[in-house]
Structures are given as structure tokens and as C-alpha cells.
Symmetry: C2
Subunit: 442 residues, 2 copies
């Protein structure tokens, strides 16, 4: 039993172990996030990691659908699948799994809401913090299991839901020590009107969105090239690029980010834009600008697309100086619940990229502010009377203290250096002849 076998000790490909320092930081961040969100009336719920495979594959998860970890059928069901499909490999593969791991928290949340609605308050405001799994090619900093942190509101049709989501998320980031970040906001209906006003064919809108989404990375000339390469009419391409250029210039003008000036910006949009969408966007920008009070900024960004197919209204994300990717993203998806229940329910969510947040905090060496005073009680496990060591150490215990029993090592000096590095505040050495334990601070 104690002979060494050929087991590798490394985690599976794309997976990783979380060591004490990072785990403490993650726990601290989660407790802080939940506390902030609770102050805005959200409550935490959880769904299982495993969903029926049909549920996952039938969702609007875009390219994530090809990244699902599928779970093999078991017993008779597996044998049946194998014998009934032995001639058609493609058909067989589709029949091998009955379950899969969730690839995001939104698809399970919508199922959860549709299933449990009778037992939930309405409107319902949820917090979800949990792991999701995607079989992506592992890269530096990208893992196949990662944590998402979402808040969602079901049952509020007005843009006050967006205001609450944006402010709660911004406050959550402020409470974690982030500052001077920017909320970018747009509306899918405005985006659609923009594209429509340039006379693109309606069945090409999604393709145009995908090209516009690359603006950040490849610039306006790059987008123009991509649009032409995708076969769109020269005139339409020229028109959308000139519109985007004009809007983008205004959107990055600092004087335009405050209050009612947003209205002026919105007035530059084509006449076919949904008036209610413009009003609602103006309301949100005005409200958040005031609430932000210079701690963070909100800007209208007509080029913001967000990947998901399910968005129906406002979309938003948060960018921080120095980070290549957004640290949070979300939007309104009023048509998703109806897919399950047959009756649409207004819905809107904002998701923090927990892993990005954690890696920024790790780089900053964010303190996790443990309030425990850590004391090591050192003894000789070969010679001392262990019952007495244990009971004497007990006399030091208190709610604000960590008392850890540790066997003496050969090199005491080295042991003390290690204890200091581990964050201990002091130590006591057990002496059989002494009554109590003398704690020495480091």
C-alpha cells in the first residue's frame, strides 16, 4: 500500500489547486461581495453543477455549447446506447451522455426561476457565486473550471433594475478596493437601429454586430476591413463606420459623461432609434453619474455589443485601467424565462469576472485582514506529555486567537522564520516543569 505507484500528482489538464493564500483571498472577496449585494436586497441561491444535457444544449449559450463537459451515461443506459448505435459514430456520440456540467450561471438560473417561482419572492433578486466548467484549450490564466459571481433581477421591467444592478456591482468593486473604473453602457435596440439605419440586410445584423464587437481590438479601420471581407455592401460599411466614428469620439469626450449631457449624445443617434430605449438609457446614465459621485464613471458606448444572443435591452460592462478585459458584464434578457415557462418575465443581470478580480487582487497583494492573533504552541512530540501540552494550549484559546499545536523541529531558528512567514504573531514553548505557557510575540 505504501509503495509508490505511477500516479501523477498534478491536477487534471486545465484544472488547478487553490493554495491557502489564494483561498483566503477568494473567501474574503466572496464574503465582501455577498455582504454588498445583500445591502441591495439580493439573496444567495445555488443550483447543481450538473444539468440535463438537453437543457444545456438547448440554451442560447453560443460557442460555449461546444465546450460542455459531458457526463457518460451509466449502467444499462450506456450499454443500450452503445448497442443501438454501433454503425453510426456521429449518432452514437450524441447518445453517450445524459448530463453535463454547467458552463455559466445564467442558463441554470433561468431554469431555477421557472421551476421554483412559486416559492420565491417576486420580484426576485438573486446572488450566485459558483464554479462553471468549459473544455477550452488551457492557456496562461485561463482554466477549465472557474468561478462566476452573478446578480440578477427577475420581475422588474423598468430601468430601475439596471440602475440597481450597476450601482450594486460598482459598490461591490469599490468595497474590494477597485477604483476609477468605467461602466460602458449601450442598448441592443439602439445597436440594432444603428445597423438598420445603414441599410444592412436584416439577416446580416448579427454578423455586423460580431465585427463591431472587435472595435476595441482592431480599431475602426480593422472593422471596416472585416465588414467588407464579410461581403457587406460598400455604402453600408462606409455609413456605419462614419456613424461609429462620430459616436465614439463623443463617447470618449470626458465632458460628455455627466448627467443630462448624455441626452445631447443620444440625440445624435439615427431617427429610427427606439425613443423609450433612449430615454431609459439617459435615465440610467444620469442616475449612475450622480450616484457614482466621481468614484467611478459611466459612459455611453454605442459600439458595445456583448457576445450573448439572449440580450434584449441595455447591455453594460466595467473596464478598469490596466486590465485588457472587462471585469464585469451583463444586460437585460426579457425573453429567456418564457422559453421554459411559456410566459416572459423581465430579467436583467450583471456578472463579475471573479477570476479576473482575484488575479488583480493577488497582484496587488490585497490584505485579507484576518483579525486572529496567531500563536504557535511548540512541543516535543517524542518526549513531552501530550495530554498536558494539549490542555495547557487550551488555556490560551479565545475567540480572537488562533492557537496551533506544532511539534518542535530540529532547527528552531528556521522554524520560527517559517512561522513568521506563515503570518504567526507569536509562539510559546511548552516546558513540563512550568505552570503556564509564556507567549512571546515575534
Amino acid at each position: 500500500m505504501s509503495t509508490s505507484t505511477s500516479f501523477s500528482t498534478a491536477p487534471a489538464r486545465g484544472m488547478r489547486d487553490l493554495l491557502p493564500k489564494e483561498t483566503a483571498l477568494r473567501d474574503w472577496a466572496i464574503i465582501s461581495l455577498v455582504k454588498t449585494y445583500e445591502q441591495y436586497g439580493f439573496t444567495r441561491i445555488d443550483t447543481p453543477a450538473i444539468e440535463n444535457i438537453a437543457q444545456l444544449k438547448g440554451s442560447e449559450g453560443g460557442e460555449n455549447l461546444s465546450l460542455i463537459f459531458e457526463i457518460l451515461k451509466r449502467g444499462d443506459k450506456l450499454e443500450k446506447a452503445l448497442s443501438e448505435n454501433s454503425t453510426d459514430q456521429k449518432k452514437l456520440i450524441a447518445e453517450l451522455s445524459d448530463l453535463g456540467l454547467r458552463f455559466d450561471l445564467t442558463v441554470p438560473l433561468v431554469r431555477f426561476f421557472a421551476h421554483n417561482q412559486a416559492q420565491l419572492p417576486y420580484p426576485f433578486k438573486s446572488i450566485q457565486i459558483g464554479s462553471v466548467w468549459r473544455a477550452e484549450s488551457p492557456q496562461a490564466g485561463r482554466y477549465r473550471q472557474f468561478t462566476q459571481c452573478d446578480i440578477d433581477v427577475f420581475g422588474i421591467k423598468s430601468e430601475i433594475a439596471e440602475m440597481e444592478l450597476i450601482q450594486a456591482t460598482a459598490q461591490a468593486l469599490l468595497n474590494l478596493g477597485f477604483e476609477k473604473f468605467t461602466v460602458r453602457i449601450n442598448d441592443r435596440r439602439i445597436l440594432t437601429a444603428l445597423v438598420a439605419s445603414c441599410n444592412f440586410a436584416e439577416d446580416q445584423f448579427n454578423n455586423v454586430f460580431i465585427q463591431i464587437d472587435k472595435l476595441d481590438k482592431i480599431g475602426l479601420q480593422g472593422v471596416k476591413k472585416e465588414l467588407l471581407a464579410n461581403g457587406h455592401a460598400n455604402e453600408a460599411v462606409e455609413k456605419i463606420c462614419s456613424l461609429l466614428d462620430n459616436l465614439a469620439q463623443n463617447a470618449t469626450d470626458k465632458t460628455l459623461h455627466k448627467n443630462e449631457i448624455a441626452t445631447a449624445l443620444l440625440s445624435r443617434l439615427p431617427a429610427n432609434c427606439d425613443k423609450e430605449a433612449i430615454m431609459a438609457l439617459d435615465n440610467v446614465i444620469t442616475a449612475i453619474s450622480k450616484a457614482a459621485a466621481d468614484r467611478y464613471a459611466i459612459v455611453f458606448d454605442p459600439t458595445l455589443v456583448r457576445g450573448m444572443g439572449y440580450y434584449t435591452g441595455q447591455i453594460f460592462e466595467i473596464v478598469t485601467a490596466g486590465a485588457a478585459h472587462s471585469v464585469a458584464g451583463g444586460g437585460r434578457y426579457d425573453k429567456m424565462v418564457g422559453k421554459y415557462s411559456g410566459r416572459d418575465v423581465p430579467a436583467c443581470g450583471f456578472s463579475i469576472g471573479f477570476e479576473r478580480i482575484v488575479s488583480i487582487l493577488m497582484e496587488k497583494e490585497q490584505s485579507t485582514k484576518t483579525e486572529l492573533s496567531k500563536i504557535a504552541v511548540i512541543f516535543d512530540q517524542d518526549r513531552d506529555h501530550l495530554t498536558e501540552v494539549f490542555l495547557k494550549a487550551n488555556t490560551l484559546r479565545a475567540d480572537d486567537k488562533c492557537i496551533s499545536l506544532l511539534p518542535k523541529k530540529k532547527d528552531m531558528r528556521k522554524q520560527i522564520d517559517s512561522l513568521i512567514a506563515e503570518g504567526f504573531n507569536g509562539y510559546a514553548i511548552y516546558h513540563p516543569e512550568k505552570e503556564g505557557l509564556d507567549v512571546k510575540a515575534f
Copy 2:
């Protein structure tokens, strides 16, 4: 997109959704458990949900090995497995998966320790709280995904590790409001000596253990019957039953649970018992009896077996009055790390049955003591000026308050009843003509 489809909204078979009330209780319990364990020098770590399938199947997980959720290979690897094994179904099934979901936290922990040892303090004291998955037949109260909560010590060979684990776990239960529970303790070496002293064949020891393990459920006569049915010699069966009877009677004698009296009990064991094991057991019983100070009890139970094959020394579990199953269990497993690293490391752990704890707390309607004062700000989302509602509600915000914006419902009385049921402490109705918001307590 909003047409109803045939999707079921129920969670997958054997899985379940966690609603706000239970999630709040679970969060509260986890924070309390972590806090207690940190006071004993343990630190939280985490391993991925997914491990290599060879890792899981090569472990000493007993019957859990047949309950693994296996993950289907993907892409070329899957196609290759299918084409190379098309004639042998049994061989094919073994080649279809490369990964699996963890079925406990001990197997991944040992891999984690072997892999990361250079970056960890030594001795290393870990806290793990996480989901595990087993493809069991679902039953009332038994799910296919459930949470385990383990503490483990690597690198302490003396029984002070057991003392620390038992006291920390007992204190964690006390802090959750449990009381008057009993720690049952035994040692695998004593159990082995007992069985050996009755002249059972050595290759039959495990079978004898399995029958003794049933004592709780089927009584001494039942165990006797099972042992005979399993073909053991009549004389050996009579001898072990009389030994167990004698020991069990003393073990349940209340006057024998304190301090040095344990020594008297231990002296009744057969002469072939490991003297060091008896000494260590006496030390632990003496130390814990004193530390418990009548808040809980510890009893020597020579019939305690615990299922796992990997235990090498002391084993223990905690039983509470009224609960059919133990609420915690653990023991020493000094030979498991060596399987990975080739070098044995002393190891010992104690695991709380988190789901059992939670269901007892749910029945008790345990308060989760939220300190937030919850205020609902009610407005008319069709008529009120939403930016102003949002900004006025902001003026009420404070660290100890939850301010939740909620649209007015038709039946105000019913809405207020719901808010009270949800735990709100008061409400404020927005009036456009009024300066501030008047908060009324419920």
C-alpha cells in the same frame, strides 16, 4: 424565442436547487465552521471538482468507485476510443472517459498535498469545504451532489493531532448550536488485535470488521448470525461476541467515560493489543474528557469500525441524540500519501457530514442572525421618475442596512404581508412631491 419548448424545469435526477433560506443557513454554517477551524490553526484550500479518472479509480474509495460520474472524452480522443474498441463493449466503456467528478475530499487532498508540499507549511493543517458527486440511487434526503466539510493534519505522528481534530470538530458543532453529543473512539490496531485474539484467519479480518460494523443496526445476536452465515468458525464467533459484549457493556457505563478510568477499560483488552495504541487512546480520551468539560462526551467503543480501507490508527465519529447516523467521522491514514510520493507522511482527518448538520439545523429553524435592517423602497414603475426614486433610496443606504427597490403591487396589503414574511423590517413609499423618504417599521 419566447415560445414555450418541451424543456423540463426540474433539476437533473438526484440533484436539487438551493433556495434562499437554506442557502443563507448553509453560508452561515460555513462561515462559522471556517472561523472555528481557523482558531485551531487550520487554513482553507480547494481542489478542482474534476480529477483524472485513473486517479479516482486507483484510490481506496471502496464502493464509491462504482459511483463515479465519468466525463466523456472529447474530439479526436473520443473518436479514436470509439473506432479502436468497436468489437469489445466492456473494453470500449473503459476507454470512453478520461476524467471524473471527485466522490470525496480525501483522495484529492492527498494528491494536493503530494503535489504542492514544497509550497505548504509542514505540518500542514487543511480545511476543505466543497461539493462531491456520487451516482447513487436518489432517496429522500440523499442527493447525488452534496457538500463535505473536512479538516486534516499532515505531518504530526503523535496523537496530539487526534486531540486537536476532535476538539476542533466538537467546538465547531458547539458553535453551531449542537450540544450533548458523544465522540465514539476506537483504534484499527485494537480492532485487529481483538479479532486476531479470537483466532479468525487473517485474510478474513476485513469480513469480520464488516459484520461488527453492523452492531448498531442489528445488535449482538444479529452480528453473531451474520458471522456464522459468513462461514466463520463457531468457537471464534462465540469468543468475539463475548469479548464485544463485555467491552460494550463497560463502554456504555457512564462512570467510565472520565479521565484515567479509561485505562481500566483498556486493561480489559486482550494481551496482544498494541501497547502504544492503548496508551495513545488513553491519552486522547483523558485529554478530550477534560477539554469537553461536560459540554460533550467521549467514549471508547471497541465495536467502531468506520468503512474506509485506508485507516491505520485511531478512528472516531460523533453521534447526536435523535440522529440515526453519525454527524462526523474520521481517523488516521498514515499510508496514503506514500502511494503518491513514495514516502509515507503521518495523516489524520475529521469530516463533518455537512448535509446532515444542515438538515438538523433546518428542522430546528436555526436563526442565521443577519444583522442587516431590511427596508423596502416601494415606487410606481409606470409613473414615478425612476432616477429620483433611485437617488432618494440611495440616501437611506448604510453598512448595516439593506435597501431594496421594489415596484408597487396592486394589492398593497398583500405586498406588505409578503415583505414581512421575507424578513423586511420596514418600508418607505416614494412620493414625488415629498423631499425625503419616511421609513415605517413593520
